[in-house]
Amino acid sequence: MMARAAFLVIAGIAVAAALALVLRRNTVHGALFLVVNLGCVAALYLMLGAIFLAAAQIIVYAGAIMVLFVFAIMVLIPGKEETGPDPRRTWRLLAAPLGGALLLELILLVVGRTAAPAPTGAAPSDNVAAIGRLLFTDYLLPFELTSVLLLAAMVGVLLLARSREGSAEPQGAGPEASVRGSAKPQGSEPEASLR
């Protein structure tokens, strides 16, 4: 019963966050709602016994991908269109209890899991080991392809997001320059070596 109640609450938050992302005008709030949604799904992964994926979800999605999103939104969209004077505050206030509820759910979940019977799958520690083994045996080829993909994506991002084409082209001035300077957080160092 406990697990079912927890599921319903998490699912409710996930759906509400998804709806808010889609329906609200404000892009930054949308990104934060997506973080909430991703966190809910991570909690569901925990309930399903997929510990490795729950961690990866938090680290990769909520940690890396969404930070990139929020960063891009903040940097790219001029403040006026983005955050009107009044909705900003109320929504930020609303986001806090949502985050709190999520935290509460995570705690409830952990407590519930120790009491509830273990799921049908393997034990949690085995789960991580089993995926690791799989990645480096049966799925070795896709794993290597992923690394090629990440390399290609990195080269592509440098190509597209790099601001200066070379010494011949003058750097833009004023607000634009600050945008350029900060728009590529991971780009600046390899850029020098690729050029």
Partner: protein, 100 residues
């Protein structure tokens, strides 16, 4: 235990919301986030399906979907940055190309 069908229903709801977001929104960044929502729903369904077999195949597939999504996000945001460079000071909402 929570029935598998609950997870699948939730996954379906999230996927639907994501697709609806792609259709109704005009801002490329929000469309992009809606796509991530839909991908995530697919991942949830995969993990839920994988639970019954007890084999980590489904979870490995989710791992790859996540890695691919990371590359996709980096590329997509770089494209959006490039657009902003060309059309300085323009809100992304105003892009004319979003006529399908």
């Amino acid at each position: 235990m929570i029935p598998e069908s609950w997870y699948l229903a939730l996954s379906a709801v999230l996927f639907t919301i994501g697709v609806v977001g792609v259709v109704i929104r005009r801002n490329p960044l929000v469309i992009f986030m809606s796509i991530e929502l839909a991908l995530n729903a697919a991942n949830l369904a995969l993990v839920a399906f994988g639970q019954r077999t007890g084999s980590p195949d489904g979870q490995a597939l989710v791992f790859f979907v996540m890695a691919v999504a990371a590359a996709e996000v980096a590329v997509g945001l770089a494209i959006i940055v490039a657009i902003f460079r060309v059309r300085q000071r323009l809100s992304v909402d105003e892009l004319s190309m979003m006529r399908w």
